[in-house]
């Protein structure tokens, strides 16, 4: 059923993308500026995820400061956000403002339906560099990051303390750490991403960058999936399975919390939301006593995490772009970012917001802040969905010892070359 939905969704995406592209929606940069006068009219915002539930009440202050403005927020299921927006772009029924996901926004950006960020609206250097770069095409920014996260190495502090270990800092130390955790009773040393398809590939993207590689050439025009550095990175990832330090059968999705709690695994590369999952399941006291976070252990080229971010983008065919940009500016002020963190929990994309005690006082987020400085996004090309999904699926052959890293990456390279990099 799920796979049927995926196929259906993909068919809509492809159909709507082709149509949107064929309408000749070429992107052009505008040297528009946005004044400080109150916004007016009706502003339509489409947003996926749970944010849409909380945003209307959060924007009460903004609406008070802009009494002539009415903000209409439509909450959309995240899984279908791209299909809905692509169809709307093709049919010309777009809202004024949307929140895009970094993992999937490339195919939306390829339609050329977004307006360039007006000059002087925000300063690029105020944001974490990876998050800001996600929406930059040909030197022009088409979106402004609203939230950002990076994966971290999260581990059982109590078991590490017993073993007399701190967080592993290098690839070699990560192996030794996993073995030591097994010595402390953990069934598997670590939980590695497995069974997540495209998210496995996102995880591998970290390791290839840690090894000085990359899935795309520097100019973004060629796939470089089977480069020597990438093969070595996948070999390293696969060695956790072949050496019995990680299970090829999990943890998957909801298993992660119980596996981590019951010593099935003692560490995992996972995003900052893991802390709240553990609080929900085990309580704050358990988390304070047992959870620690660190940046990802460094490979030969350093520590690199996977980046995820959400950006606000204004549609060229929207009816009220001026009000939309004013809301973008408001949402990316450091004080608004802090308030939104307190209200909803999204981590700020604006660096200055991290100095606020509300965030700075949470020791578990120190590693997050550090990781965000160097975190890397998935390849921002419109075929990433197909290529990343296939790569993620094929990686499991390595985890199960059914193929070598070289064989898998050669195969995925051939697949990716046939898919191309899109537009």
């Amino acid at each position: 059923m799920k796979s049927t939905n995926r196929v259906a969704r993909r068919a809509v995406l492809i159909g709507a993308s082709a149509l949107a592209a064929s309408l000749g929606l070429a992107a052009t940069a505008h040297a528009q500026t946005i004044d400080d006068a109150p916004a007016s009219g009706v502003l339509q915002l489409w947003i996926g995820g749970a944010e849409g539930e909380k945003l209307p009440s959060f924007l009460a202050d903004f609406e008070k400061a802009n009494p002539e403005l009415k903000v209409e927020i439509t909450q959309i299921p995240s899984d279908q956000f791209d299909a809905k927006l692509l169809t709307a772009i093709a049919a010309g029924t777009v809202p004024d403002l949307v929140r895009l996901y970094s993992q999937s926004q490339a195919s939306l950006m390829a339609t050329g339906a977004f307006a360039a960020v007006p000059e002087g609206l925000v300063k690029a250097e105020d944001f974490f560099p990876g998050a800001y770069a996600t929406s930059v095409k040909g030197g022009v920014a088409y979106g402004v990051p609203m939230d950002a996260y990076a994966t971290m190495f999260q581990y059982r502090k109590d078991l590490a303390d017993k073993a007399g270990l701190g967080a592993p800092k290098t690839w070699d130390e990560m192996k030794a750490f996993a073995k030591a955790m097994q010595g402390q009773g953990a069934t598997w040393g670590l939980g590695m991403d497995i069974g997540y398809d495209i998210y496995n590939a996102q995880g591998l993207n970290e390791y290839v960058h840690q090894n000085g590689g990359g899935l795309l050439s520097a100019d973004g025009t060629q796939w470089t999936i089977n480069s020597d550095a990438n093969v070595a990175a996948l070999d390293y990832w696969g060695s956790f399975f072949s050496e019995g330090l990680a299970s090829p059968d999990g943890p998957k999705f909801l298993d992660t919390v119980p596996w981590f709690t019951s010593n099935e695994i003692a560490g995992k590369d996972i995003g900052p939301w893991f802390e709240q999952w553990l609080v929900d399941a085990n309580g704050r006291e358990w988390v304070n006593a047992n959870l620690a976070t660190a940046i990802m252990p460094a490979g030969p080229a350093g520590s690199v995490s996977a980046l995820g971010s959400g950006s606000l983008a204004v549609l060229k065919d929207g009816k009220n772009p001026t009000a939309a940009w004013k809301l973008v500016r408001y949402m990316t002020q450091p004080e608004t970012q802090v308030a939104w963190y307190k209200y909803f929990g999204s981590l700020p994309a604006v660096k200055a917001a991290w100095d606020d005690p509300a965030i700075a006082a949470n020791g578990l987020l120190n590693a997050q802040r550090e990781a965000l400085q160097t975190a890397v996004d998935v390849p921002q090309v419109s075929t990433w969905n197909q290529v990343g999904t296939y790569l993620g699926q094929q990686m499991e052959l390595v985890a199960r010892g059914q193929a070598t890293a070289k064989q898998v990456l050669d195969d995925v390279q051939a697949f990716a070359e046939s898919a191309g990099v899109g537009n």
Partner: protein, 276 residues
């Protein structure tokens, strides 16, 4: 026959009971999950029983804060109009195609068969363009229109109509009855089971319809239940599983009630069309 082999019958029933239990297990898990908190599900996703069966917080949240009343109303309206429209127009079309020979009727029927074979996803974007042109974006009418007459419904009615004896209709014509009188007075009462099958199939289709209502709706006031469920169960960087499971029960309940009352027509529908 089975009375002669009591052991065989007992074994057969035991096997069927076991298979039924296995098939029902996921539904029971969903039902029990609807009474769990997010913490309970996170801590032990595989656990069966909730800590407290009187915990109705998920249901209360859905109806009090997540607009489930609105979504359910929209779903009922969409399904009611879809069923009524399909029953009326597909029986008219089925009658005409089977009992009123006219030039090109085979071509028309061929086109209907062809329409059944085109995946609806291929028509998705052009359909949306048409709805935009009609000014029906963000309306329940825009959701209903593309499924107001489903090719499968016309096909079923045409096949059933074929089995109605021509003599009955001829006799009515000889008595001076007009075509509409024959259609409503004689034909429709004879094809009751076909109408029930069409009603059930079109109800299930429209009730579970997801992607199209999502695309047509431009604000949450026009969302139907499946779309509303997908929205309501979203949590920060996760899914609110308690809400998701409670919502699934709410979506499932009308179908379950319908099934209990119209069981034999469901089975007939599956047998006739091969669709579930």
């Amino acid at each position: 026959m089975s009375g002669k082999h009591p052991l065989r019958t007992a074994l057969l029933y035991a096997a069927l009971t076991l298979v039924a239990a296995i098939v029902l297990m996921p539904f029971v898990w969903v039902l029990f999950g609807a009474f769990k908190t997010q913490g309970e599900i996170m801590a032990a996703p595989g656990a069966w029983l909730p800590q407290d069966f009187s915990n109705l917080a998920n249901f209360a949240e859905l109806f009090e804060r997540r607009q489930f009343g609105t979504y359910m109303g929209n779903s009922l309206i969409v399904s009611a109009f879809t069923v009524a429209s399909n029953v009326l127009f597909s029986s008219l079309a089925g009658y005409a195609l089977a009992k009123l020979p006219f030039k090109g009727s085979k071509l028309v029927f061929g086109c209907i068969l062809a329409a059944m074979m085109i995946p609806y996803i291929a028509l998705f974007v052009p359909q949306f363009f048409i709805i935009v042109q009609f000014g029906l974006v963000n309306t329940l009418a825009g959701i209903v229109l593309p499924i107001a007459v489903m090719p499968i419904a016309v096909f079923i009615m045409r096949q059933f109509a074929d089995s109605v004896p021509d003599e009955l209709l001829e006799a009515a014509r000889l008595d001076g009855a007009g075509e509409f009188r024959i259609f409503f007075g004689i034909f429709l009462p004879l094809v009751g089971p076909a109408i029930a099958t069409v009603a059930i199939i079109t109800f299930l289709n429209s009730w579970n319809y997801f992607l199209w209502p999502l695309i047509v709706a431009q604000d949450q006031g026009t969302y139907t239940l499946p779309v509303g469920l997908a929205v309501a169960s979203q949590a920060a960087r996760s899914i609110d599983y308690g809400l998701l499971l409670a919502g699934a029960i709410v979506v499932l309940l009308p179908v379950l009630i319908l099934f209990l009352f119209l069981q034999k027509y469901f089975v007939r529908g599956v047998a006739v069309t091969g669709l579930k």
